[in-house]
Structures are given as C-alpha cells and as structure tokens.
C-alpha cells in the first residue's frame, strides 16, 4: 500500500500494527503459525513422543505405578509374543479387506454421483451419503448387531433363499466396519471424480477409446490420489478400532482391544504403549508410501 493512502486511513495503533505486519512477512507468518503449532506440537507431538518413551519404561507390579526404569521388555514381548503377532496380522488383514470392500463399493456410487446424476439428484445423493455420518457410530455398530443376529432382519431376508446370517465373528466385523467407514471413502473419491474434467472424457471418446479404456487410462490415473486419500481413512480407522469388534466380532480381538485392556483392566501403560507402536509404525509406512502420489492433499 502507498504512503498517501495509508495516511488517509484512520491513524492509531491498530493502523501502525497493520503497516508493520504488511512490511514484515516473517512476523505475520509467525503470528499465524504460533497458536496452532503450539497446540499441535505441545499437545499432540509431545504426547506421541511421551508414548514412545513410555513403551521403554516399566510398571511396578506391586503398586501399579509407572516407573521410569529403562527396559526393552515391553517391546520384546510385543515383537515376539505369538498373541501379538497373530492379533497384528488379523488386524492388518481386516483393515486391508475393509479398505478394498469400501473402495469397490465407493467407485460406482461416486461415479454415478459425479458424472451421471443431474445437478439436483447429485445434491440429494451427497446428502444421502452424508446423513448416516450423523448417526452415532455406536448405534450403527449396534444396528448391525441387531441386523446380523440369529433372529434379525438379515436372517429373515436370506432364509427363504436358503441363506444364513454370518452371525457375530470376523465376517460380521468386516461388514460393520466397511459400513461405518464407507462415507469417508465415497466423499474423497466423489470429489476426485468431480475434478476430472468432462472434456477429457469426451476427447478420449471422440478419439475412439472405449468406455473401459477411458476409465482405465484417463479416469483412474487422475483419481488415484483421491482413492488413496479415502483408503487412509478406512485403513487407519479400522486399525485402531476395538469397539465394533466387541459388538459384532464375537470373541475376536484386534490391536485396539489389547491396548484398551492394558490401559484399563491390566493398568500397564508401558505395555499398552509398546502395543500402540505397531499401528503407528504401520500407518507411518503407509503414509510415506502414499505421500508421493499427492494423496495427502486430497484428504
């Protein structure tokens, strides 16, 4: 801003501050960043680092109080214990399956919403997909318990065709988890498809490409970051879940259950922290791998 026009404005300290900030980009940036970074680093990162450290501490078996004696026992237990290995494999397997199921379901509905439906229908569909997000997570998980129960609606629908409800167990957990995270996967993929210009699809068609070829060579590469963004949600949310598996998963345990028991009933925070390192490690590997695709910008 020029000096004359600045002088024309009301004088005063707020004006002087404004001019000062206008001329000092670094100060402006520091002011913008200080509060949010203070929060995220001091609350969140500090807590994560503390968690990492706690994994190498021990708990006094007599008083139940955490002692700051350094030990590798917790980490060794978690890495070598057959229970932990089995549960880790099961959890990652469930998370991958849920992610695949969600992507397969999300692709056609997102494509219909973004490229086929009229503007009006599109708006209705977005609302229809968003609305279940407002229903309580617990109630939806519990609804699946009632749907999958042996005298529930699933049994009632499939029985005439000779089918049977999967009941409570791993299939039930995978169904319920896929259901819970589906909107989180549909929305980024839908947004990604919205960004694919129709002109590109028309050009591809005009140049003689079949629909499949256009989908494979034009749409999919452009959509990839959005698909990965959606997969981060379903994968990460499943990896940490311990409530849904309790409600519809029968006696099966996931990593979250082990963490939860060790924080609560067993009162062994160091061991719980060591177990928690597994999902952190998995997610970090996943994020590092997908970061190159630019997916993190479409979250």
């Amino acid at each position: 801003m020029s000096t004359e026009s600045a002088e024309k404005m009301t004088n005063g300290s707020s004006h002087r501050a404004s001019v000062f900030l206008h001329n000092h980009v670094r100060v402006r940036l520091a002011l913008l960043l200080s509060a949010p970074l203070f929060w995220l680093v001091l609350v969140y990162i500090a807590a994560l680092v503390a968690l990492l450290v706690t994994a190498f501490w021990t708990v006094d078996s007599f008083t139940g109080i955490v002692r700051t004696d350094w030990t590798l026992d917790n980490v060794i237990t978690v890495l070598t214990g057959s229970l932990y290995q089995a549960v880790t494999l099961r959890t990652v397997g469930i998370a991958l399956l849920v992610t695949v199921v969600d992507i397969v379901i999300a692709l056609p509905i997102a494509f219909f919403m973004a490229k086929v439906a009229s503007a009006r229908l599109q708006r209705v569909l977005v609302i229809a997909v968003l609305m279940p997000l407002w229903a309580s997570y617990l109630v939806k998980a519990y609804a699946w318990r009632s749907v999958l129960s042996h005298d529930g609606i699933f049994q009632w629908i499939v029985q005439p065709f000779g089918g049977n409800t999967p009941g409570y167990g791993l299939p039930g957990a995978i169904i319920a988890l896929s259901y819970l995270w589906l909107p989180y996967v549909i929305l980024p993929i839908y947004a990604g498809l919205e960004r694919v210009p129709n002109s590109l699809l028309e050009a591809s068609g005009d140049l003689g490409a079949s629909t499949w070829r256009t989908l494979r060579l034009i749409v999919l590469p452009l959509l990839w970051p959005a698909i990965i963004a959606g997969s981060i949600f379903s994968f990460s949310l499943t990896l940490g879940d311990y409530i849904t598996i309790n409600i519809v998963g029968g006696a099966n345990q996931m990593l979250g259950n082990l963490v939860f028991t060790n924080v609560g009933a067993a009162n062994n925070l160091p061991l719980a922290s060591a177990i928690a390192l597994i999902p952190i490690l998995i997610i970090f590997v996943y994020l590092t791998v997908v970061r190159r695709t630019g997916a993190l910008n479409s979250l």
Binding site: A6, S18, L21, L32, P36, S146, V147, N198, S199
Partner: protein
Amino acid sequence: MKLSKSSRVVLGVVTGVILAVIYLPLLVVLINSFSTSRSLTWPPPGLTLEWWGRAFQSEGALDAILTSVQVAVVATLVSLVLGTLISIALQRYKFFGRDAVSLLVILPIALPGIITGIALNNAFRTILGIQLSVYTVIIAHVTFCIVTVFNNVIARLRRMGTNLEEASADLGAGIWTTFRLVTFPQLRSALLAGGLLAFALSFDEIIVTTFTAGNGVTTLPIWILQNLFRPSQAPIVNVIAVVLVVISIVPIYLAQRLAGAETVPRARG
C-alpha cells in the same frame, strides 16, 4: 467417453442398492425404537410408544447430550480459530518446513483414534500428573477437529486466489480491514461447513473420549456405550439415535445449500 443408456441404468441401480444397504441398519434402528421386544427380534412382535416417552424423561441421556453439546461447541470454536490460522499460513506463505506442518495437521486423523487416545491419556496422567476431566476431553477433541476446519478453509483459499486481497491492499485497506471485509466473507461458508463437521466429529467421538474423560464425565457416546447392552435402556438408545439423525438433516441441508449456491453451474456431458 459416452456412457451407453444401459450402463447408466446399471450404475443407477447399483447406486440405489448401495443406498438401500446404507439405510437398512438405520431403518432397523427406527423400527426397533417402536418395538415391544427388548432384544433384537425381527420382525418386531408389536409396536409401542413407551420408549419414546421414557427417552424424553431419561435424565442420564439428557445430561449426556448437554455435556456433549458443551464439549463440541468449545472444541469447534477453538478449532475454527486454530484451523483458519494454520490454513492461511500454509496457503499464503512459503516457508521452511511447510510440508512437515501440513503433515502434522492431518496426523491426528491419519493415526487411529486409539493412538491419539492413549498418547493423551499417558501424557496427562503419567507425564503431567493431571486428573482427567471434561477439559482434557476438549483438548483431545480440538486436536482432531482442527483438520476438518483446515481442509475446508484451505480448499477455499486455494480457489479464492489473492486478486481481491491484493486489490483491497492496493486501494489502501490495512491487513485487518482486508481480512474483515474481503477474506472473511469469502471464507464464511467454508468455516460453517468445517465447523459443522468438527461439531459432528466431536459429538460422536467415543474412542479418544474414553481415554481422556475423567470419572463422572459422561458424553452422549459414553452414555450410549454404558447403556447399549442393558435390556431396559437399549430401546431408549434407539430413540435417541433416531432423533439425532432427524435433527442432523437441518445442518447438512444448510451446508449443502451454501456449497451449492457457490458452485458455478457447469455444463454436463
């Protein structure tokens, strides 16, 4: 690419079936809220309004709703401020460590809730020696609500560009005036959308909440978890779920209208 009529129809049918599956469990919840059966019997042996009457007199449920609203309102307001600040910094400035900061913002939702939960639980209790309370819940909720505000605001800032702000500065407006009269009005609907999502996220959060809530702090999800498996309370939980879904139509509709009014009508192929 020209989709044939039949593939359009197939896509439409698939979409319809998916939506039906999405709404089936919600429908079951709705019907069960009228069912005379306390267990999960289908079809319901009979219908009753008893649970609806009892739900509106359930002090535990009403208190829990109030607690959840308080937590969600405070968490949303704090995350609106922090989320807006950090989006402006990341969108309008180039600085060393920018990538690290943007990764830091999304980390609380990229990492599973149980990690955030146990990390904060451990930090409060073991490291800082603080008693868990309603404030620790709010601190935890802000951490993962920032990102929803951030996503909405940064997308808007990207689309806005800087032309109007530069014009405002050229015409002599100071930083505050430009923010108040030029930037903020353009951000308003993005803030509303981000705020609504943050509110919803906080209102429904159970995992992080379980790990950070003090004794006696009962948010609605905690109350629901406590009562879900009690035969005398489960039908009331169904009623509350139905009421919440119905109420949620209003903010979703508003957010959609706001978003819709701003998108430029585009030609469809």
